[in-house]
Each structure stands twice: as structure tokens, then as C-alpha cells.
Symmetry: C2
Subunit: 200 residues, 2 copies
């Protein structure tokens, strides 16, 4: 059928979004049609703003509205620890745990030769500069426990070398909280056994 | 944690949309961040346009960019048949079947006393006017086979009375295509038995 042109355009644009198929696009479009104008204007403005205002923090590569991101600007963070993450989404996941109080470094990806991503495509030079010039005592490598994440972690460790000057650590691998041994995969179980910790 | 303000705003606005929770909002927001500017501008513009340009067709109540909707403007539609639907989404579902070639009338809801919706809240007066003034031979009532849909269908039938002047029909109820008898609900099966049709 013929939709009105502006509706057709909106449906097409919505379908470019991830998780949005034709049915969800229709549902979203009709919601937008029925929502108050102020709400709709705010959504459209927010979409434009996020694209125009956000840039990369010149220090750590996180998303920032100015030169430095909120975390680099925050004087209360522990400047002796840097947590290395693949992207800003992983950084936000780390922050949501509330456990980590240090700084970050966002790589902008992971080493993945099959996808043509080598170390030189990543935000690594600036990491090595920070380790050299800032007073960093510990580097926590928080890349995913996947082939790409492990490769990236090993690459960084090979270049920097854990030692007296800097301690390089990796996030613990093991059973997720609430997991069921019966349904855990053998690799996770084998990691959990190897990395078992004494009970206090 | 503190997100950059513009990202925080976008996440909040996205969460007003149906089917979008915090995780989907984050996924959409990061997609928007990484998408080309032109695509993002187009999305924002489409959202504003759909709200500003669309209005109700003065004849049938469907969504329209001008005075009349695409269907009312289309000279090839059969003007002797009007299909009555609850809203524009149902109209689009009907159109997607490709089976119907007549005109529509969009009620803007269904009679539902519990929600405070009576016949006077619906686009019914204009339907009765059309039946009186246009050359309508058949009225297909395509409201949902639910309590509200049936009540609305009965109300329209009571007012207009099927007869020599106008034939009032209702969409067939029965087993959906591809259905499994074993898992069908008793009400649907009972309708399917009552409304059984001779095989040609």
C-alpha cells in the first residue's frame, strides 16, 4: 500500500537502527505520531546533539563533551590505575559495577587479524605514552575473555611487561554469579578451577 | 557513573519509546553515535516531519499529508465499499493483505465503557454521514474479534441495519492459516465450526 510519504520515510530511517524490524518500526512510528510534540522534539534534538556534541577524550579515548571526559576531569579518581577497555560501552559496564575508582583507556576495538584490525588501528600508542609519562602503578586489562580480547591483552602485556615498574592484571575469569555448574561450558569451568581462590 | 550529558539525555528520551528498555536504549544510542551524520540527521528530521506533516484525512480519518489520504485520493479504489477499522495501524494491516480494494473509515478507537470510551468519542458520526451521502453498498466491519471490537461492530450494525440499501459484513473468524487444532483455543474452534464454509 501507499503510506503517507513522511511516515514511509520515518519507517525506513527507523529500520536502519539495530533491533528494529518492520513491526517494531511501525510500533515506534505510531508511538511518535501519538506522543506529545514536546517529547518528539526532545527526542529528535537529543539524537542530533549526541552526534554533534560528543567527541573522544584526548587523554583516554572515552566519550567526552569537551577536551577531557567526566572521568579524567574527576579529581577523586585514583590516577595510579588505568583500566584498558575495548570501547566506551565496556567502560560504562565497568562503571556500573561501582567497584572501580581509577582511570580508563579506551582502545576503540580489539586486535582481530581476520577483520583487518591490527595493533596500529587501535588507540595503543597513547596508552603506552600514558604509561611512560603518567604515574601509573597498575594496568587492568578488561578486554572480553574472547580470542580477540585475549590477543589484545597478550599484545599489551608483551609490549609493557609486568614488573617492578608496573603491575599488569587481567579481569578474573570464572563462573558468573548465579550460574549453574550443570549448564556451564567446559572452558569456563576449567578457568574457574585453575583460578580458584582461597576462602577467607 | 556520569555519562556525558548529551548521551544521558538521549538515553532518557529513547526510554520513552515502547519496547525500549535501558539496554536497548544504550544499543541504539551507540549505534547513533557511530552512524554517519547524514543518516542521523535524516532520522531526526523524519521524526519531526511525521509529527508535523501528518494529519487526519477529513473524509475517512486515515493518516494524510494533505486534506485527503492516499486511499481517498486514489481514483481506482472501489467507492461502494467501506471497511471500518479501529485505527490507522489496523488499516495498514488490512492493506498489507492486498485483498481489499475499497475505501476505509478509521474510528480512532473501539467502544470500551471500562476505559470511558463510548460511541460519541469515536469517529462514528462521519461514518453514518458517509453511508447516507456516498454511494455505499457494503460496509465491512473489520474491528478486532475482541469484546470491544464486537461491541463496536454490534453498535454500528444496530444503527445502520443491514438490508436492501446496505450490506453490513464482518471479517471471518476462524483458525489462522498455519494453525494447529491441538493448540487452538475453544472459542476460536467453536467459531471455526459455526462459520464452516462449503469446499469448492
Amino acid at each position: 500500500m501507499k503510506f503517507p510519504r513522511s511516515l514511509e520515510t520515518l519507517l525506513n530511517e527507523l529500520e536502519y537502527l539495530p533491533t528494529v524490524g518492520p513491526k517494531t518500526a511501525a510500533r515506534l512510528a505510531f508511538h511518535i505520531l501519538e506522543a506529545p510534540s514536546s517529547r518528539v522534539q526532545a527526542l529528535a534534538q537529543a539524537i542530533i546533539d549526541v552526534k554533534e556534541k560528543l567527541q573522544k577524550c584526548t587523554r583516554c579515548g572515552n566519550l567526552a563533551e569537551g577536551e577531557l571526559c567526566e572521568i579524567c576531569r574527576d579529581g577523586r579518581r585514583n590516577e595510579q590505575t588505568i583500566c584498558v577497555v575495548a570501547n566506551a560501552r565496556d567502560l560504562m559496564a565497568m562503571e556500573s559495577s561501582g567497584e572501580y575508582k581509577g582511570l580508563y583507556h579506551v582502545l576503540g576495538g580489539l586486535i582481530s587479524p581476520l577483520d583487518g584490525v591490527g595493533p596500529e588501528q587501535l588507540n595503543l600508542a597513547s596508552l603506552f605514552n600514558r604509561v611512560k609519562n603518567e604515574n601509573v602503578k597498575e594496568l587492568i586489562i578488561a578486554t572480553n575473555p574472547t580470542i580477540q580480547g585475549e590477543a589484545t591483552a597478550l599484545y599489551i602485556k608483551k609490549i609493557l611487561k609486568s614488573g617492578k615498574e608496573i603491575l599488569i592484571t587481567r579481569l578474573a575469569s570464572g563462573l558468573p554469579m548465579g550460574a549453574n555448574l550443570e549448564y556451564s561450558d567446559p572452558l569456563t569451568l576449567s578457568r574457574a578451577i585453575c583460578n580458584r581462590v582461597p576462602m577467607h
